[in-house]
Symmetry: C2
Subunit: 226 residues, 2 copies
């Protein structure tokens, strides 16, 4: 499969590595390819600069947002929530037609520092906004409620965490579920249509808020049914 | 201890039975005592009418909201979210001074049927609203994220669920934690000040939404730390 990933940060890179390890072709999308390739800054002391990371992963291509959307059978949105719409605009709506779009974004406002504020709105979740922007794409809200490290390696010492997904297209959800199962997810809950994204985004805030408050990045929720 | 409980529905009654079983004195508060005592309607086929229930539990007193707030060392808010402020107004703010107030409410709008809509607002959660209304009370947001049946009997076949609590007063949170432990809660997470109530209310929506969509009332979340 061809996978296009929007976002050159930790989330996008980790997803890219994982999809590549699964023998997919992977392209990362960015606003300006040359600027990104020249980036030597590290967003976090433990991370590589984009330049360093790209050198480690020569098989992963870097393209514009438009090239990346056109490239992917699956397009993963791993941008900051408030940057997603702009990235889609730059990519061009037509390049998403009939694609599966995995929306990992969350409505966060970092303008007052951390922990970020939640800016989700009932009836206007990011998942819904993206599906409206991309009416011919099959948007699946997924992988937004834990860190990307857990997304690609969900096995926890204390049990199997739950992943909620939502979207209007059943076959797209099925494809995303199969990807998740390959990565080790054992408890996937189809939460319904893309309008349910709001609840997935609200749920994510508990994870995110706890994470920033406690500097914990390894926690997750197991869903007890009885 | 004396426990006053606002709310004559399933939540209030179940909490009343549980506090009584723990050898507390319990009073339930209502708008109009005579009307409530005469109520023969059942809100649910499986439930007793208030009149039937009261006859089964003669030790549990029924009072006005004002009497109930004045009575309790602890006051439990188990009203519908959008009825809470009015109940507090009727009770009189002075009757809550120095009391521990356990806020179990959630910002739900049932006007369009079920599942209810979430009406929570960041920076203006119900927990915060109630603490502002009752500046001399020690409000603890707790027990809002699962059904009352799980609140009073948290043991699940599949593991120990998590309960998040929030509030400004450490000793009040300690008291609520001790009550919860007595009921079987093994994983209590102090989420911080009452301003964190928003996240507890958002978290509750995942439980509530799943419940109404799947007619499931036995699910809960276990918090995996690693």
């Amino acid at each position: 499969m061809k996978v296009g990933i929007f976002g050159t940060g930790n989330v996008g890179r980790t997803m890219a590595e994982r999809f590549l390890a699964d023998e997919n072709e992977v392209m990362i999308g960015t606003r300006n390819v040359r600027n990104t390739l020249e980036r030597e800054d590290r967003d976090n002391p433990g991370h590589l600069s984009y330049q360093e990371w790209q050198k480690k992963h020569p098989q992963i291509r870097l393209g514009t947002f438009a090239e990346t959307a056109a490239f992917g059978d699956i397009v993963v949105l791993a941008t900051l929530g408030n940057a997603t719409q702009h990235a889609i605009d730059m990519a061009g709506v037509k390049n998403f037609a009939s694609k599966i779009v995995i929306d990992m974004t969350n409505p966060l406002d970092f303008s007052n520092g951390i922990p970020p504020r939640f800016t989700g709105t009932l009836g206007n979740s990011l998942g819904e906004q993206i599906q409206k922007l991309l009416p011919e794409a099959k948007v699946v809200k997924a992988f937004n409620s834990v860190s990307v490290q857990i997304v690609v390696n969900p096995k926890r010492e204390e049990g199997d965490p739950v992943m909620f997904i939502a979207g209007d297209d059943e076959s797209a959800k099925q494809t995303v579920s199969e990807i998740a199962k390959k990565w080790g997810w054992k408890d996937l809950v189809d939460f319904g249509s893309i309008t349910e994204s709001y609840f997935l985004e609200a749920f994510a805030m508990m994870w995110i808020h706890y994470a920033f408050k406690n500097n914990s990045w390894t926690h997750a929720f197991k869903f007890l049914r009885k």
